[in-house]
Amino acid sequence: MMARHGVLYLMVLPVLLYFAVFLFWPALQGFLISFQKFGLMGSQGWVGLTNYQKVFADRTVLRSLSNTLTIACGITIFGTLLPILPALALAEITPAKLRRSFQTVIYAPYLLSWVIIVGLWLNTLSPVGLVNGVLLAIGILDKPISFFTLPQFGQPLVIGLTVWKDIGFLSLIYFSALMSLDLDLLDAAEIDGAGWWAKLRHLVFPHLLPVIRVVFVMTLLGSLRTFDSAWLMMNGRTADSVRTLAIFTYERGLLRYDLGFASAAGVLLLVISLALTALTRLMPGIRPPKEA
């Protein structure tokens, strides 16, 4: 009997070793490096809390922190609520074949890399592109706007494109929850004279609530680690408004080789992320993930 279990343990062992070496060890390292003066060649000695003092006094870090929180807030709010609309809309579409076509199209951007997504919109929003073309043609603008180089469009574009990219994916989660709604209940409400809004408010919305909470946690934790999207949309003029904390650690640590300082900023991001994870667990109605 023990031998049989032995083989099973051997089957999980590679995975555990992997996490130990490539996740837990680096996380611990990051913590240790943040207390050292650490250059490309390695440690130059322990410096206590110096890196953290620098982190909280550095204008770029604080700016990146506020960018991260603003972007995360935008993505979380819109990314949690907006996908409910296409889910409700999909439920109205018949025949089913047509509904699947809509699903196929709106799900597609979720699978595309950020490089492709930014490329698509760079072309569409370029000064010589489609959107400017239309706005100029109908007279809303008299000269083209260069959306990707104006600082005031930086954060809205990161948030907007993230929500757009994931809307199909997240709406399918809502849609699958809608499919388990008891249709007899809706019919009964109909007989009682309930309009579409009353049905949405009193039947559909409460039914979706547990899923809304799950999506909320998913988008919140995903948005805090924003890197690719903002990195690809970042340029000299928008850097100050779209640089996230994750990008900052990359720039400072791996392009400027100030690894100790960058690690302290990374630990800050990790702590914020862990703290928010813990907070969401306290939210009423969030089931802790099943552990078996």
Partner: protein
């Protein structure tokens, strides 16, 4: 569902607009990519190449040697996915066995990994990869996310759905765990395996932060990083003055084609996996 004509009208309008916001930019990109160099710099609404030209593509492959990053990405995607699915399936199967002592603790450890996103440990990851001599190797991209909690837990749910009597019968016949895993569990969990394989292939194909972090050598860059250097990160840098929009968009189209070819066949699995993941 709501039986309201007004809401049904809204549904059609809303979904059509949303679908158009995906389709129109795509058409625009294809149109620009097949437009001549000068034509692609003209302002206006372009949903058809004007004038038609293959300049974008010829420049892309001649000047940027686009084959190389493509080959690198293919290698990393195929080997990386095989290794990923293999390791995750082994672990998922073991954890799906109801009588394994300590499996709750192990599953707990695996869940904890979800709370440490790699974006928060970029610097130490670089340090660890460097100390293991993995920098500037394609192996580093195979090692990155070699296993993930998502895949393990998803496969575990699939393995748990295999009826116990089938496994118990095999045990009585004297088959060991590895043999049961290989000849009984894997074939029965096929939809799960295909789902995880599809997701991981897309994931590996799109890998961006890791090559940015670990690869310097221009001969070892991957498709996404090559594309990024062509579209120039959205800025008006001096290099993007030289690379015209038709070349950039040709790059985007070339990067899109493998995914679009692969998507219709695997869409079912990509959606199915999503439901399973959401239920968890």
């Amino acid at each position: 569902m709501l039986r309201s004509p007004a809401f049904r009208l809204f549904a059609w309008v809303f979904l059509s607009l949303l679908a158009l916001s995906m389709i129109v930019p795509m058409v625009g990109v294809v149109a620009t990519s097949f437009t001549s160099k000068l034509g692609s710099m003209q302002p206006g609404i372009r949903l058809w190449p004007d004038p038609v030209s293959l300049e974008g593509y010829t420049t892309l492959f001649r000047r940027f040697e686009f084959w190389r990053p493509f080959g690198n990405t293919l290698y990393v995607t195929v080997i990386g996915t095989l290794a990923h699915v293999g390791l995750c399936a082994l672990a998922g199967y073991a954890l799906a066995q109801p009588d394994l002592p300590g499996k709750k603790i192990i599953a707990g450890i695996i869940l904890v990994t979800l709370t440490i996103p790699s974006q928060t440990i970029l610097v130490p990851l670089f340090v660890v990869f460097r100390s293991l001599g993995l920098l500037n190797t394609l192996l580093s991209l195979i090692v990155a996310e070699l296993v993930s909690a998502f895949s393990i837990l998803l496969l575990k749910t699939y393995f748990e759905q295999i009826p116990r009597p089938i496994i118990d019968m095999a045990k009585i016949d004297g088959a060991g765990p590895l043999r049961i895993f290989w000849s009984i569990a894997l074939p029965l969990a096929r939809p799960g395996i295909i789902t995880v394989t599809s997701f991981n292939m897309v994931w590996k194909y799109n890998l961006f932060i890791e090559p940015l972090l670990f690869i310097n050598d221009p001969r070892k860059i991957t498709l996404q990083v090559a594309l990024q250097s062509i579209i120039g990160g959205g800025g008006t840098t001096s290099t993007s003055d030289i690379i015209t929009p038709n070349v950039m968009m040709a790059g985007i189209v070339v990067g899109l084609v493998p995914l679009l070819l692969f998507y219709p066949f695997l869409q079912r699995y990509l959606v199915q996996g999503l439901y399973m993941g959401a239920v968890k």
